[in-house]
């Protein structure tokens, strides 16, 4: 279980006044939970993810992973970045195997496991390519395979599909769901797309900016339905999906109005 407990972050801004980026955010990610943080840009989503990943200390509150407080980055939390952070000098397969190399796995074994993961994300033929030879969507898939390679307890994904076209994006969503369904990993996922949040999350946290807060939560089962049926169209066009979409849109807009009024 990952537990985020009243997490607050104040950044030291350049003019000396603190920037309140995250205000007492609390939630939990249970076993095989898929939690999606949804909000406009600037509402503290990346701040929250960076804190969970251990890249950023909290000003107040705690983040507890399986009973132990998070103190820094570690291979128990795999991170997929918004802008892919692949090593440009390594081939695709060696990028995927990077975490295994740090874990001391022998070269032949880590190549074999990396190859398996590349096939899982549909890039088996591109093992020997260099990252700059791939498209954005393919690079993002390499990033996912790399994060999965060390078999982390939890995947942290910061708007991983934000830069993709809508068709590729839907394919990637379905790929991610099938990985989640097969491996039963916990996932913390960030997006600014309402549809994406509804489709993927078992729980959606709706966030508002300045300071970044969770203003609403929804427990959903569209993702389980998709994992069972594989029929995205009927889920996304269902009246239930549409009414939730409108409800969340209203929440996001009222948060925006509050901010501009203040």
């Amino acid at each position: 279980m990952l537990k985020v407990d009243h997490a607050s972050v104040f950044f030291a801004a350049r003019d000396g006044r603190p920037v309140h980026a995250l205000d007492r955010v609390s939630f939990e990610i249970p076993e095989s939970g898929f939690v999606v943080a949804l909000g406009a840009s600037g509402c503290g989503k990346s701040t929250l993810l960076n804190a969970i990943a251990g890249f950023l200390p909290l000003s107040d509150g705690a983040i507890i992973l399986d009973g132990r407080p998070v103190r820094g980055p570690g291979a128990d939390r795999g991170v997929v970045f918004q802008k892919d952070a692949l090593l440009p000098w390594e081939t695709v397969i060696d990028n995927v195997a990077l975490g295994l190399k740090f874990a001391g796995v022998s070269k032949s074994e880590r190549r074999a496991r990396a190859h398996e993961l590349l096939r899982l994300v549909g890039l088996g033929e591109f093992a020997k390519a260099l990252p700059y030879e791939l498209s954005g969507g393919m690079r993002q898939r390499v990033g996912i395979a790399r994060a999965l390679a060390t078999e982390p307890d939890i995947l942290l994904m910061d708007e991983p599909f934000g830069a993709l076209d809508s068709l590729t994006r839907e394919q990637m969503q379905e790929l991610l769901i099938s990985i989640w369904d097969r491996t039963a990993k916990r996932i913390f996922f960030i997006t600014h797309s309402i549809e994406e949040a509804l489709f993927l999350g078992t729980q959606v946290l709706v966030m508002s900016p300045r300071p970044g807060r969770v203003v609403a939560r929804f427990d959903l089962d569209f993702v389980r339905r998709f994992a069972a049926t594989g029929d995205a169209r009927s889920i996304k066009s269902s009246p239930e999906f549409a009414s939730l979409r409108e409800e969340i849109r209203a929440i996001l807009h009222s948060a925006e109005d509050l901010r501009s009024a203040a």
Binding site: A53, G54, V79, F81, A85, G99, F102, L130, Y132
Partner: protein, 284 residues
């Protein structure tokens, strides 16, 4: 209409032309070849030289004929110059610059990376480096000679100092340009500090380091020849200086030509290393 629909796939299947290979349009020069233009320019300059010398537009003392210079190459090769063979002169110069470059690179890369990463290393090493780096190397050559004598040590120390700074500064710049996502990604994949240094920081800084090495080797040749002019009995720089005193302009030309060829070979080698080690430069 139906003709069109049917003929198009048939003709393309029967006679498939070789596809036109394309690349991303790059800004500025990009990868457009310039070799032919450069070779043509070189030939034009040589032709102009030949013409000016043949027509005696300039006294022979100032500008020897191309043929004379070539003859002089042969004579220097067989007879040597000032008690040493031509290859000994060349070897003396190459030995100094290669040894000095190796020391400067071996020290400059780790110290530069360390200065980019560690506050104490930066604070301490910045003082001497920022003090001596802007000085022209020749201004402290006399000091090197007083301290280390007239032999090889003073010249090599001078060269090491001249070449160390650009390597060290470029390694620091390489660390500064390291994207934080890359570091964070490696740390969340379980990289320990030493692995972070070797697998992430060093290769990330490599493009900038290689640029620094190129600059260093350029500075190295300039400093080497100047140092040999002042304090040496071997080396291409010495040969040029000594020949100039006897007004042997053709020997001076040969010496300059040899330095040009060596310096060109060095920079070609570095460019080759760049192409092998960082094919991804500027692409991601």
């Amino acid at each position: 209409m139906s003709d069109l629909v049917q003929t198009t796939p048939v003709s393309s299947a029967v006679q498939r032309p070789r596809p036109k290979l394309v690349k991303m349009v790059s800004f500025g020069l990009g990868e457009k070849p310039t070799v032919a233009i450069s070779v043509a320019t070189g030939l034009a300059v040589a032709a102009l030289w030949w013409l000016v010398a043949e027509l005696d537009l300039v006294p022979n003392l100032f500008l020897p004929r191309p043929g004379e210079v070539l003859t002089q190459v042969g004579m220097l090769y067989y007879d040597g110059y000032a008690g040493a063979s031509l290859s000994e002169h060349i070897f003396a110069s190459l030995f100094r610059i290669v040894l000095a470059a190796s020391i400067a690179i071996a020290a400059g890369i780790p110290l530069g990376l360390l200065m980019g990463l560690n506050r104490w290393a930066k604070g301490i090493l910045d003082t001497p480096i920022e003090f001596y780096w802007p000085l022209p190397p020749l201004s402290y050559l006399p000091l090197m000679i007083i301290w280390l004598g007239i032999g090889e040590t003073s010249k090599i120390t001078l060269l090491v100092l001249a070449m160390f700074a650009p390597v060290c500064l470029s390694a620091q710049a390489g660390v500064r340009s390291l994207p934080i996502e890359r570091v964070n990604a490696a740390r969340s994949l379980g990289a320990r500090p030493l692995e972070l240094f070797i697998d992430i920081v060093l290769p990330s800084a490599l493009p900038e380091i290689l640029t620094g090495v190129r600059i260093a080797v350029g500075i190295g040749w300039g400093t080497l020849v100047a140092a040999e002019l002042i304090a040496s009995t071997r080396g291409i720089g010495f040969m040029i200086m000594s020949a100039a005193q006897f007004l042997a302009t053709d020997v001076v030309f040969v010496g300059i030509g040899i330095i040009a060829i060596c310096a060109f070979a060095f920079s070609a080698a570095i460019r080759f290393i760049e192409a092998v080690l960082v094919p991804w430069k500027g692409k991601l």
